[in-house]
């Protein structure tokens, strides 16, 4: 198991987790969603092949009402 930070919360995830797995777990739908891993954008096409490592900081964002 690995410890990662997802949107500011500590999460205990399987060692084989990918970015795509995290998105499925935390988002109602992957549409309109983007992911930053340790301050860099992970393109959607790379989600399934990008392994999440212990200590990673993931930010998963989507549209919200705003100015």
């Amino acid at each position: 198991m690995i410890d990662v930070t997802v949107n500011g919360n500590q999460e205990h995830l399987s060692a084989t987790t990918t970015v795509a797995d995290v998105v499925v777990r935390f988002c109602p739908s992957p549409d309109g969603v983007a992911v930053a891993r340790n301050g860099d954008v992970v393109p959607k096409s790379a989600w399934p092949s990008t392994a999440v490592r212990s200590g990673d900081r993931l930010e998963i964002v989507t549209a919200a009402a705003g100015g």
Partner: protein, 270 residues
């Protein structure tokens, strides 16, 4: 009987980065009470472009603001609200491009939490990086004609000078600077922030701006849908008035009725 047609603005539509927008009013979705109200506001406003912010996903949220915009055929303009450095704004823009499939961004880099005024040095830095990366950048900037020119020089597709601080509803505090920006910029000028009521939007257009962006003044009005309709008319009125050409201001009166031909009325006081 032939229908009498009212004159329409001959200036043509607002064009940003080669894309024709169907309206000079850009709607900001911040503060909207519900997605249902947003849907009605978009319809009443006639807007072709609306801003959204990028925030952490809420696993419990139902319905997406993107679906509402899509249904109304309103294009998404992601903003970088909440960013205080060029680096944050650039990363947020890249996330928005990935999330929404658009390279348009309303670039905001805030320099002060209390006034939410732009940090123009960071803004220019971010704008240059994003323009170089192929983004269509619409920067929220101060009402400074020199800053606006610099933003245009680094490749911004439009400039969005503030009328007054975000959400203040104070209207256009420096109309002279806004008119200077409208005159000196060759890219579209869209007044952003500070608009409190439709007459402020009319003034922006009369000063020579190409468009107006309105969020709070619509979304936090007592009746947002009615206010959206009022802004639609206000923007149209301003565009027509600018083209029609206002009269010069005078210090003293100028009679509008002719002096010639007035009857000599021999009325003596009782």
């Amino acid at each position: 009987m032939a229908e009498r047609r009212l004159p329409a603005s001959r200036r043509g539509p607002l064009v940003v980065a080669g894309r024709e927008l169907g309206s000079r009013l850009v709607v900001g979705t911040g503060g909207i009470p519900s997605l249902d109200v947003l849907d009605q506001v978009l319809e009443a406003s006639g807007a072709a472009l609306a801003t959204v912010a990028l925030r952490r996903v809420d696993p419990t949220s139902r319905g997406s603001i993107l679906d509402v915009l899509g249904r109304r055929q309103v294009a998404v303009l992601p903003n970088t609200a909440g960013c205080f450095t060029a680096a944050e704004a650039v990363l947020t823009s890249k996330l928005a491009r990935e999330a929404f499939g658009t390279d348009w961004v309303k670039l905001e880099v805030i320099g002060d939490e209390r006034t939410l005024l732009p940090d123009v040095a960071e803004l220019l830095d971010a704008a240059e990086q994003l323009c170089d990366d192929g983004f269509v950048v619409l920067p929220y900037t101060s009402d400074d004609p020199v800053a606006a020119r610099r933003l245009e020089q680094v490749g911004c597709a439009a400039v969005m000078p503030l009328g007054a601080p975000i959400g203040s509803g104070l209207g256009i505090r420096n109309p002279h600077n806004i008119a200077l920006i409208a005159e000196t910029c060759s890219v579209p000028v869209i007044v952003d922030a500070g608009i409190g009521t439709p007459s402020d939007a009319t003034v922006a257009l009369e000063l020579g701006c190409d468009g107006v962006m309105v969020a709070t003044a619509i979304t936090r009005a007592r009746r947002p849908v009615q206010m959206a309709a009022a802004f639609r008319h206000a923007v149209e009125a301003g565009a027509l008035a600018k083209e029609a050409g206002r009269i010069p201001k005078r210090f003293y009166a100028q009679a509008s009725s002719p002096a010639e031909g007035a009857a000599e009325l021999d009325v003596s006081p009782d």
